[in-house]
């Protein structure tokens, strides 16, 4: 029982982060139609900025969420306006735009990653913050992990309410169904697409801050989280935001069950699930 709880809670905590990362990516693909390979780099930027803020300026990582999130939003918004907008105008069809925007995001990944390497260097860094532990029914957990879980779920819930209840949220949902028709219905479509890309980047930035509290960071950490994000997004159904939320937790729990059995097999299990899922049910668990 204790072991079962141990595995489940650890899985949930990891799953919260995965869900947050994947929701951002899902929003970018589902609405803005950009399969953003540079997503992991926004996570890295969040984590490394938090590291610098904490070690140099002594800013609490929890406060850094409020700094890195908006910064990543602005960066994402501007990038969409400068790059992807141009591609969308010149692309003859949606399919061509999806391929070319994905390739452009590869370029973006190289640019951000190597800028970060020039700024921070390749070293792995870690800081310690909130190292207390607490116990549930005899199993020990780090407090910071609980905080990251609360933050991840909180951001997910706020975002869901934003989508479901506000006028802008409605515009985003309309754009997700069909961008050009949403544009005809009076939605300022260029603004909404850039907004979605920016919001996705903001979620990645916030996730990066939370990741830096628990795990070591480096300028090349983005790739690892990118692959997790891709797996979760496919698991939940490409472009489905609730699917990504559920998929994140599912993957977190699967990961911690496999880790309990053999740590070396976690990534192999993830990729196996991913490859099999693509073959059997490419729409994912909540796909249309």
């Amino acid at each position: 029982m204790e072991r079962f709880l141990d595995v489940t809670v650890a899985g949930l905590m990891l799953g919260g982060l995965y869900a947050l990362i994947a929701m951002g990516m899902s929003l970018q693909y589902g609405v803005a139609r950009v399969f953003n390979i540079a997503h992991g780099e926004f996570i890295m930027l969040g984590a490394m900025t938090t590291y610098t803020l904490f070690t140099v300026f002594h800013v609490s990582p929890l406060l850094a969420v409020a700094i890195c999130g908006p910064l990543a939003f602005v960066l994402g918004y501007v990038i969409h306006r400068l790059m992807f907008r141009k591609l969308q105008i010149s692309a003859p069809s949606q399919g061509v735009f999806e391929s070319s925007s994905m390739l452009a995001s590869f370029g973006l990944m190289f640019v951000i990653q190597n800028l970060a390497l020039l700024i921070w260097g390749p070293e792995i860094r870690q800081y310690s913050y909130m190292t207390q532990t607490f116990s549930i029914l005899g199993a020990q957990f780090g407090l910071r992990r609980l905080v990251t879980l609360v933050f991840a779920v909180g951001i997910g819930a706020v975002f869901y309410l934003f989508l479901a209840r506000t006028r802008i949220g409605k515009a985003i949902r309309a754009a997700g169904q069909d961008a050009s028709i949403a544009g005809l219905m009076g939605v300022n479509i260029n603004w909404v697409l850039a907004l979605c890309f920016g919001l996705g980047a903001a979620m990645a930035g916030a996730a990066g801050v939370l990741i830096s509290m628990c795990y070591p960071d480096s300028a090349i950490m983005g790739q690892e989280y990118l692959t997790v994000a891709i797996i979760v997004v496919v698991l939940g159904g490409l472009g489905s935001i609730p699917g990504s939320f559920i998929g994140g937790f599912a993957l977190g729990i699967i990961g911690s069950i496999v880790a309990f059995w053999d740590t070396g097999l976690v990534m192999a299990a993830f990729y196996a699930i991913f490859v099999i899922l693509l073959l059997v049910r490419p729409k994912g668990i909540l796909g249309k």
């Binding site: 370029g107 973006l108 640019v111």
Partner: protein
């Protein structure tokens, strides 16, 4: 000095690829007008180890590796629009073949075997991914490479106890010759595929797969066959390249970067013409050989910037630019006459 030698040989390769492209456009086989020059160019390439410094053909081997990956990638992915991120998988299969069989068998057999194993993998992957299109195909091939890395890493640590393996090294000029031989085979295969009805079938699939199927093209057979045939070159290149590196582990053998680079090089060069990917690969791989070790971060940074600019402003790559200029010059001529 070495750069000059390498540059001359790269021009020779470019000429050969231009020749293939030119030959493709000819209606009858009058194509052998320029063939004398091609033989001279081949002679320049073959004799490089006799007149060039050692470093020049080591460097050319590295460039040829990227060229082979890029051209064989673009034969399938160029016309069909199926963007495969699996080159690293086929290349890695070749490397591991070399690591396992290299001690017991002669080099040529190992290389051939590496290629055939890649074909087997490609045929299998092709057969199971028939239903996947667009972004799903891209993501699947990407995941495949990562799956292979992590399973292999787990296997190596669990059962052999070490991460990596040593490979029996081969002579530098031998590696160069085999690489050159693979390139020539690749060019001939590319010519034959493009010239045959299968080349047209591939283009039709890229434009409209349903329409292609209705016209009586066996879409699945053509896709799987070409995907598998082109992967043989990636596997062979991996098997021979491994003999230069002597040590490898799953991460270096299945380096994901090797899946991205062919895509970027082909797009940079432009996929409308046969010499486009060759041009892209020659330029970028030469720069990589020169700059990667000295300024890795600046190199990759500018690489990213160039990629973004090319995708936004030059969707047809360098070939598009060249064609624009020639059209302009021809236009001026016509206007004058």
């Amino acid at each position: 000095m070495e750069d000059l030698m390498v540059g001359i040989n790269l021009l020779a390769i470019l000429y050969i690829s231009w020749f293939v492209d030119w030959a493709l456009k000819q209606k009858k086989s009058k194509a052998w007008l320029f063939s004398g020059l091609v033989l001279i160019m081949l002679a320049v390439l073959i004799t490089l180890p006799y007149y060039g410094p050692t470093y020049s053909y080591i460097m050319l081997t590295g460039i040829l590796m990227y060229l082979i990956l890029t051209v064989s990638w673009s034969i399938f992915s160029g016309p069909t629009g199926y963007i495969s991120l699996a080159p690293a998988a086929f290349f890695g299969v070749g490397i591991y073949t070399s690591a396992i069989l290299g001690k017991e068998f002669p080099v040529l057999i190992v290389v051939l075997f590496g290629g055939l194993l890649s074909v087997a993998l490609a045929a299998f992957v092709g057969a199971i991914t028939l239903r996947l299109r667009g972004i799903y195909f891209i993501v699947f091939t990407f995941g495949l490479v990562l799956l292979i890395i992590s399973v292999l890493l787990w296997y190596e640590i669990k059962f052999t106890g070490t991460r990596g393996r040593f490979i029996v090294a081969a002579e530098n000029d031998m590696i160069y010759y085999i690489m050159l031989g693979i390139m020539v085979l690749l060019f001939i295969t590319g010519y034959l595929i493009k010239r045959s009805k299968y080349g047209l079938a591939l283009q039709t699939i890229g434009q409209n797969e349903e329409a292609a199927a209705h016209m009586g093209i066996n879409v699945n057979a053509v896709k799987i066959a070409v995907f598998a045939i082109t992967s043989i070159f990636m596997g062979m290149a991996g098997a021979i390249m491994a003999m230069r590196w002597t040590y490898l582990d799953p991460y270096s053998a299945f380096d994901v970067f090797r899946s991205f680079l062919p895509v970027l090089m082909a797009i940079f060069g432009g996929m409308k013409r046969f010499y486009g990917p060759v041009l892209g690969a020659v330029i970028l791989a030469f720069l990589e050989e020169k700059l990667l070790t000295e300024f890795p971060y600046y190199y990759k940074l500018s690489f990213g910037i160039v990629l973004i600019l090319v995708i936004i402003y030059l969707p047809d790559g360098l070939v598009g630019l060249v064609e624009k200029f020639t059209r302009r010059i021809q236009g001026v001529k016509r206007a004058g006459a």
